[in-house]
């Protein structure tokens, strides 16, 4: 008897995804959708769509969704989670959304240890608006606002979000993965599931950064784009786990009053 060994998850709707051919967003949507479905939390999940190419993610995910202003995902997720603590709340964001306009929201939600999950899609560019430089654009990488390649003397260096957030005490799970090859897709799924599990177990803030390809605004074919992820992005943005709940240490509590020596 023939068996279906791979089928489209119920975590996704039937809506046609309006992404360019070969865009990484689609695979990442599938992984998130499969994770919430397999963990049995889809019906109590609230997703937050960003501003960016995935602004229509509310149509693609088969769960409750909301679409706030650019970069405000973590703030809205905070509110959602605090009024509905039994819900599983995730914020899906691009690098422009998360690391430019929304950097303050991101860092403070992480610092407060909000019990939310952030799915951070790092494609090193502003996709939706036509390929401007992002905070994550690699040195030397061409974009419409760095036509000769990103020059660190003018634009500084790309921000490594996982490394940055790992200096904070509160985050429980921080990992960077990619989706440019089947083996990486399998690892990405594991990390995304783990991030949601951290939230289900009420262990605190979780974020997965996913290196993704944007063939259109990198001006390459989908096959060249996945090769670029492998050859240029992965060497600069190392893959792996940066913080896990197991490795988390509670910092020593400071006394509220300093002991004053009386003489």
């Amino acid at each position: 008897m023939e068996k279906k060994v791979f089928s489209r998850t119920k975590g996704l709707t039937e809506v046609f995804m309006r992404y360019c051919p070969g865009c990484g967003h689609g695979v990442i949507h599938r992984l998130v959708a499969e994770a919430i479905e397999e963990l049995g939390v889809r019906k109590r999940t609230i997703g937050i769509a960003p501003v960016g190419c995935s602004v229509f993610a509310d149509e693609y995910f088969n769960c409750d969704m909301i679409q706030p202003a650019h970069g405000r995902g973590p703030a809205v997720a905070t509110g959602m989670k605090r009024v509905k603590p039994d819900c599983i709340v995730f914020s899906y964001q691009g690098d422009g959304d998360l690391a430019s306009i929304g950097m303050a929201e991101t860092v403070h939600a992480a610092a407060r240890g909000e019990r939310i999950t952030i799915i951070f899609v790092n494609n090193a560019i502003y996709g939706m608006t036509g390929g401007q430089m992002a905070p994550t654009t690699l040195v030397g990488m061409k974009s419409t606002t760095s036509p000769f390649g990103r020059d660190p003397r003018v634009a500084g260096y790309p921000i490594k979000v996982c490394e940055l957030l790992s200096t904070l005490e509160a985050p429980s799970y921080l990992a960077r993965v990619s989706v440019h090859k089947p083996a990486n897709v399998i690892k990405a799924k594991k990390a995304i599931k783990k991030a949601f599990q951290v939230q289900i177990d009420d262990l605190g803030f979780s974020l997965v950064e996913i290196l993704s390809q944007c063939p259109t605004d990198w001006f390459v074919t989908p096959l060249q784009a996945v090769e670029y992820v492998e050859k240029a992005m992965v060497p600069f943005y190392p893959l792996g786990e940066f913080k896990t709940p197991e490795g988390k240490k509670e910092p020593a509590k400071a006394e509220t009053k300093m002991a004053v020596e009386k003489g």
Partner: protein
């Protein structure tokens, strides 16, 4: 016989599945679909093992695998 089914209404002909398949089962078809893309199709169906690697990388979740 293991096989894949490509949803031609979703496939955008990106070729990521073509390079992901270890047995060169898939190629883009010569005729374009109503979407305007050349969809992926099995060209060596007898070589398919049902490993699902093609489906794992498909950004449009256009592939279903049977075994």
């Amino acid at each position: 016989m293991p096989r894949i089914e490509v949803d031609v209404n979703r496939c955008k002909g990106c070729e990521l599945c073509v390079v992901a398949c270890p047995y060169k089962v898939i190629s883009l078809s010569g005729k374009f679909a109503h979407t305007g893309y050349y969809p992926a199709a099995m060209v060596q169906p007898e070589k398919c093992t049902g490993c699902t690697l093609c489906a794992l990388v498909c950004p449009d979740v256009a592939i279903e695998v049977y075994k």
